[in-house]
Symmetry: C2
């Protein structure tokens, strides 16, 4: 049988209340008594039951994390950032996936209303997560990670009104464009991400700005699946129709890798004939042929920031009113030196 607070109290010849005081460092205990209690605790190896403490205190010291799925390249980084911060503060991390569709959401909702955690981190939530608004109104602490914010600080991401952490999508894309212009590229092709996402808009606009500002036409856009095959197909088609371009900017690295494939097959040299820049800086980016210049998205730092904000709120601090923006960084490699 587990050793309970009552066992400790009996052996230390005090009341449960006193043991509780010692446990929670409520100074109002006689030094000698405290020592005695601590000895018994050590001797019995007593650990408070998380569930009982939670029930009595009304807080579980646990944070829920809802992610779309676990298999995309940067999710591990986000989670690691979250996990590090949570653990450092003694919080547990209850992980939920939306991988199994509607059923997943139902289960998740039950967990939420079952008070299984004190706060919630929403990673890359798909556009209209209906249960969200309910949560928000009920005052449940929620932080959105990587909302589709443009990163210019005015909080117009996909879930306005929620405290959130985002990256500088717009500025990152602008940096890519500026880099291309600085190296003499004037006719880029852009392969954007899903049109529904705020970050796609932000990256599109951020990329266009320097070009139009320099008097160049709006960059040519091409649709493609956000996969390696998608990028490859798109560029192959473009080459077939003899479209002229001297550079490609994709909204994700996987697509960029496909672009490199297509160019390679068509014997178009990278970077001399065409420069390529991706977005995200996933592991693969450093390993393509040639290595990919890309806009790094600070996944881990975003996870850390989100967890920090949530924990601060649980500790009584108000949520920040504007999104916290973690800056992107242009990683220059051989595909666009």
């Amino acid at each position: 049988m587990r050793v309970t607070i009552a066992d400790v109290a009996r052996r230390a010849r005090v009341s449960k209340a006193t043991v509780s005081r010692v446990l929670n460092n409520r100074g109002e205990v006689d030094a000698g008594t405290a020592v005695r209690v601590r000895e018994v605790i050590a001797a019995t190896g007593y650990t408070p039951s998380a569930g009982a403490v939670g029930l009595a205190r009304g807080r579980t010291q646990t944070v829920g994390v809802l992610v779309p799925h676990l298999t995309c390249p940067w999710m591990g980084d986000v989670l690691q950032g979250v996990s590090d911060v949570l653990e450092a503060h003694g919080y547990g991390l209850l992980l939920h996936t939306m991988n199994r569709g509607a059923d997943s959401v139902t289960r998740f909702t039950r967990h939420v209303s079952g008070n299984a955690f004190d706060g919630l981190l929403l990673v890359e939530p798909p556009d209209p997560l209906s249960c969200l608004t309910g949560l928000r109104e009920s005052g449940f602490p929620v932080v959105v990670v990587d909302d589709g914010d443009d990163g210019d600080g005015d909080g117009d991401g996909d879930h306005p009104g929620f405290p959130s952490v985002a990256t500088s999508n717009r500025a990152g894309a602008t940096a890519a464009a500026t880099h291309l212009l600085a190296t003499g590229r004037t006719r880029p092709v852009v392969i954007p991400g899903p049109a529904a996402l705020g970050r796609t808009r932000a990256r599109t606009e951020g990329f266009r700005t320097p070009f139009t500002a320099a008097g160049h036409p709006t960059p040519h856009h091409v649709e493609a699946d956000p996969t390696r095959a998608g990028g490859r197909t798109a560029i192959t088609a473009l080459l077939a129709e003899n479209h002229e371009f001297d550079s490609v900017f994709t909204h994700n690295d996987l697509t960029a890798a496909g672009v490199l494939d297509a160019l390679h097959e068509a014997h178009v040299d990278v970077p001399t004939q065409v420069a390529v820049i991706g977005f995200d800086d996933i592991d693969l980016a450093a390993h393509t042929q040639p290595p990919l210049t890309t806009v790094r998205r600070p996944s881990r730092e975003m996870g850390e920031a989100a967890a920090t904000i949530l924990l601060a709120n649980l500790a009584g601090a108000p949520f920040p009113t504007t999104p916290e923006i973690i800056p992107t960084e242009l990683i220059v490699r051989a595909s666009a030196p």
Copy 2:
């Protein structure tokens, strides 16, 4: 204020016990009463408090998962497998990392003895996890995922005695060797993983067997960090000393990618001059130049299997006495056709 079982009972004009019966489908309730109770539940949006249920029942419907860290390529797959199974059975997943060293372990241990979860999944535990033995003796349900088992079914992984899920490390390496032999390679170089791991032994032996069986000498071994840079350095050194070899087998894909780098730099053609086979089949493997032949390790399936075994045990079934082996699969790509 949250709506509690007492609120529901009052509004349905029954006792809390009856509500509880309806909640848990204890058939012994009058149909009419049950309907009335359900109506009130629906009307109030009542959800049982997870903590209170856990305390009363002595079970939390939550499983702990301890992973070394979240950033390695296959961890997401393992977790996705675990998560899918757990969610499908209504279990929560409490995630712990050992990323922050000793402190992590301490926190984790507290969670364990705090009864925060009903069972535990240990993913790739480092060799001697001291708290493990204590757990085991106390009868706490633990399943080890990817123990360093050789996969030949005799249960001699790094943590013998624990129920576990592993992959066919030995057979996978044998398949790689057989493939090389079948394509005329007789002088391989092997870059093994960390010597302390059981799977390194298993893969080493599995690879050697076909060669010695065919009358060839034991393959040449070269030490290297399990990173891309490690593989590159190792092969560069080997080339510098004019060591003759016609193929390379590495215990992980990252190292293999480094090997490809080194060969490319030295203008050694792959696969005509040297064939290369890796292990794991991480995303990168399909994207190297040339694409990497590798032994796929079924990460996600391992996660699913481990969760299934644990849940079965929590439901009353005994643990299997031998490790569950999910087979590897040789993925043939251009680096060793």
